[in-house]
Subunit: 279 residues, 2 copies
DNA sequence: AAAAACTCTAAAGCAGCATGAGAGTTTTGC
DNA sequence: GCAAAACTCTCATGCTGCTTTAGAGTTTTT
């Protein structure tokens, strides 16, 4: 080895990069060794080439693609770098916004799982204070109680498409639910009114956003949509027996939904609820 | 087509997903069509399978890998989801931290390019107020002025390795520089003292971090290290002629470095500077 | 001179799809 | 009832930025 020349291994070491990466860069023409042995085909670099390699690593750290880097290095045009960087800046900002949403969603999901484990048993009736919530909702176009799960799935799709159409994050999708007018509930008629997803404060304001007021709710827990009718009836009976006055619309809330046990049925944990006033 | 069954295209459409993605999911066993025609091999789905597909999309939105999703769906274990999510949460936080650094670096670079275009011509002497700066520096172990660019490159590598060793972001690497003691400068001896990178307020505090005070500086601009000696001499002469008292150490600052024009030499834009006091 | 360390080329693998070719199937419109 | 349009099939390839592996050859160290 000549004293001024660095073998590929040495070059890799002092630049904290792998040998194969250097070979790749050679191949695509990002940085070519300054000398290649005619017989052995061994690559040799000059320490001055560090400058270029630094530049490459710097641009990479800015999130530029190798192709872009090559283009810039070949064109020698700082305007080009700038336009790429400005574009990149936008990208990064978008990514950050997405990651923020993701983080919030992950936290919600973890909480949701925790809640699932600590939750009361099926059929249990509780009286709870529930803080206010925000929902993104669309009215149901068919009463899915009259039909099967297929219609419910359809309505759910409509909700999702509405989110997509309005360019809204779909990541809230896990905490869904439906509402029913107080009157329908009191008269024992099952008539769906709206379908919704719970959203948090980070969710952009908009037309389909509503607030559900905080308050005391009578709740019953169950784990399948199939039994909603029966449990809703029990809920109503309980209110009547105890003379609780139903003070608002009925909500069927999906607390946790992890379809992990079955291919076709939603594996759920539900809470039916009505706000009550005491007298 | 049977009325309850959805073709792959329909299934794709209502779920806002591509046909090829569905085929992929089938292949890897994430979600299998509920019926496959024996002759045509056409895939048919049931609308109930939306639940599972939703779950998949939700988990994907949380940043989980398809492999992990499959594992979870097969095991049916909520603990597994949770452990994956907790891991994922850390990842996301790291990514956000990185993106923040990236964003700052991109902004710095864009500014740097702007400055490059608006900068005074080579050899021009200016008297400027320069705000305070923070640097990450290591002492030079050899006086690179006595040797060639190779030794400078070596010192630069040491600086970089020091950053890596202390697990610090390397993204500041573009704005480097060197210092020289006031005494050396005044006596016309070129003796390197430290090599540094400029860092901003987001940079973690640590042992090698120093503050360079704000103040009035006499500066001279140039575009190659090779001429530093000559321009430093001019700078000194200028101070003497005008009776400016040198008030601190000499700094050679790399304002912009884009080695785009040449494979081997650092294509630079430099500002030599000394703080001065007026009397 | 043998052993250890290094380097070469060429190919495959990774994730999560997208795209395309060429052949077969189902639906639509008249 | 039949052609055309639309859809679907399988299989293969490509994308990014590398990493890994295999098998063969070269340098350096002992």
């Amino acid at each position: 080895m000549k004293s001024e020349l660095l073998s590929i291994g040495e070059m890799a070491k002092i630049n904290n990069i792998s040998v194969s990466t250097l070979r790749l860069y050679d191949e695509i023409g990002l940085i070519k060794p300054c000398y290649i042995d005619g017989e052995s085909r061994y690559r040799y670099y000059n320490i001055r080439q560090n400058a270029r390699l630094d530049m490459i690593q710097y641009m990479k750290a800015l999130g530029m693609e190798l192709k872009e880097i090559k283009e810039v290095l070949e064109s020698g045009d700082t305007k080009l770098i700038e336009s790429i960087l400005i574009r990149r800046k936008k990208q990064v900002k978008e990514q950050m916004a997405n990651l923020n949403l993701q983080l919030a969603a992950i936290s919600r999901t973890i909480e949701s799982l925790e809640r699932y484990r600590k939750s009361p048993s099926i059929g249990m009736i509780t009286i709870e204070y529930i803080p206010h919530r925000k929902i993104y909702s669309v009215p149901t176009s068919m009463n899915f109680y009259d039909y099967g799960i297929e219609v419910y799935e359809n309505e759910l799709k409509k909700l999702k498409n509405s989110l997509i159409k309005h360019n809204l994050p779909q990541i809230y999708y896990c905490n869904a639910g439906t509402t029913m007018k107080k009157e329908s509930f009191l008269e024992g008629r099952l008539e769906s009114d709206e379908i919704f997803v719970l959203v948090d404060d980070e969710f952009p304001q908009g037309e389909n956003i509503k607030r559900i007021e905080s308050g005391m709710y009578v709740c019953i827990y169950l784990d399948s949509f199939d039994e909603e009718a029966e449990y809703a009836k029990r809920l109503l009976e309980y209110c009547e027996e105890n003379n609780y006055k139903v003070a608002g619309d009925y909500i069927c809330e999906v607390l946790t939904e992890f379809s992990v046990f079955d291919d076709e049925k939603r594996g759920m944990f539900l809470r039916l609820q009505v706000p009550v006033a005491f007298r």
